[in-house]
């Protein structure tokens, strides 16, 4: 077999892998594969190249997005008015897609970190475990963080976890939501929690590794997708707007 034939066969096998052969061509190739072991090995070799490529690109989703990109996608709308009132909107079909993507990301994140999630620091549940429970108990340090602290303030919770709120916004139904970071020596958590019926409920959790002070979310695209899917048509609150909401004890936007 010469080089030209090898090249021809590679194209044929490549089209076979991509399901781009006509039915008759595919039948002829299937017959050849059955009687030419070298050709069958070559097919597996090319398939292996695809597998390696997919594995490599899949890793990309685990790396944090450039901060410039996340800032652009969570920034206030250009020339937005100073006071932004979220507008109620009907449930959009687009959100179904985002939610599906989010569910996939979450399954991925939890699949990878389930073991760590279960290893709490000692026998008492830590702040991250409290978040994972769904509803943040009133009276807990985490509840106080969400309820009382302005964005940017960092507090140390009872289990040694450092916690801070990143930003505050209203969802499409006018419920107040906050993005927060928790970090201790073993893990960090990026979470979104919304205040519904006077209780803070976890909407999203992603677990990552602490990185020497630099926050590295486990799945930055998933965090960004979760934020965008919750964010109403309004914008993230500025410091003054947030202070007013805190002072009004989280009176729901109408």
């Amino acid at each position: 077999m010469n080089e030209a034939n090898d090249t021809q066969d590679d194209e044929l096998l490549s089209r076979y892998l991509d399901d781009e052969l006509e039915a008759a061509e595919a039948d002829r190739l299937t017959e050849r594969l059955a009687r030419e072991p070298a050709l069958a090995r070559r097919l597996e070799s090319l398939r292996g190249a695809d597998d390696a490529t997919r594995a490599l690109f899949a890793r990309l989703d685990e790396l944090p997005l450039p901060s410039g990109v996340t800032e652009m996608l969570t920034a206030d709308e250009p020339r937005a008015p100073a006071t932004v009132v979220p507008i109620r909107r009907p449930f959009a079909p687009r959100l179904v897609e985002l939610s599906l993507a989010l569910a996939t990301s979450l399954a991925h994140v939890f699949g990878r970190y389930a073991d760590r999630l279960l290893e709490g620091p000692g026998s008492a549940p830590g702040a991250a475990d409290t978040l994972a429970a769904g509803t943040v108990p009133a009276g807990s340090a985490l509840h106080a963080l969400l309820e009382e602290q302005p964005s940017g303030a960092s507090v140390t919770l009872a289990d040694g976890t450092r916690g801070s709120v990143r930003l505050t916004f209203a969802d499409a139904d006018g419920n107040w939501c906050r993005q927060l970071d928790l970090e201790n020596a073993r893990r960090n958590v990026n979470a979104l929690a919304c205040r519904r019926d006077d209780r803070w409920q976890t909407e999203f959790l992603a677990f990552g590794e602490p990185a020497g002070g630099a926050y590295q979310p486990a799945s930055a695209p998933a965090v960004a997708a979760a934020l965008a899917s919750l964010l109403g048509d309004g914008a993230v609150l500025g410091a003054d707007e947030e202070a007013a909401v805190l002072a009004a004890d989280w009176m729901k936007k109408q």
Binding site: E11, A38, G48, A52, T53, F57, E209, A224, D233
Partner: protein, 176 residues
């Protein structure tokens, strides 16, 4: 005149978030290393947010084209083309350390180096077809290339990767 800006900023932003993973993979396939890919990703997002897209355009293909055009402009303007092999990114410590076993990490490094050694146009077509699942016709349209070229580039890309990654007896011809 403003069909290009027919969608609101908020709507564009939400839609863009949904396609960021695809866009970033495509940027990496063009750039060949993470640093340039993320610069390209950022420029693309910025461009689409600023200028929007026609109401009739589908977001993902349109955005990928914007990304490709920006990359070509970058090459023409700055002549910057670096190889991921010289700046490994995906297989190194930026990936969550505890999750990567040594063998898997090594395999990733090899794959990354092999992929970085491919010509940019082969990487792009391999990403679109083998990873993103585009048909040859759609990949050809997106890359503004004849279908026959897509076909031959794919075969060459796979053959080159198989040679780099496969066992010695799978690397060359098939007679032995």
């Amino acid at each position: 005149m403003n069909k290009q800006q027919g969608r609101s900023f908020a709507a564009r932003r939400q839609e863009l978030v949904g396609i960021l993973p695809n866009l970033r993979r495509f940027a990496l396939s063009l750039a060949g290393n993470l640093a340039d890919a993320d610069d390209l990703l950022q420029s693309t997002v910025e461009r689409v947010l600023e200028r929007g897209l026609p109401d009739t355009a589908e977001l993902l293909p349109w955005t990928l084209k914007v990304c490709r055009n920006l990359w070509i402009d970058e090459i023409r303007a700055r002549k910057v083309r670096s190889r991921a092999a010289a700046d490994p990114a995906l297989a190194d410590e930026q990936v969550l350390e505890g999750e990567a076993d040594a063998e898997g990490k090594l395999a990733l490094r090899e794959a990354e180096a092999a992929l970085a050694g491919l010509p940019e146009e082969q990487r792009a077509v391999l990403l679109l077809v083998a990873v993103e699942g585009y048909s040859y016709r759609d990949a050809a349209e997106l890359l503004d290339t004849p279908i026959g070229t897509v076909m031959s580039r794919l075969a060459r890309a796979r053959a080159a990767l198989a040679k780099e990654l496969g066992p010695a007896d799978a690397a060359g011809g098939r007679d032995g």
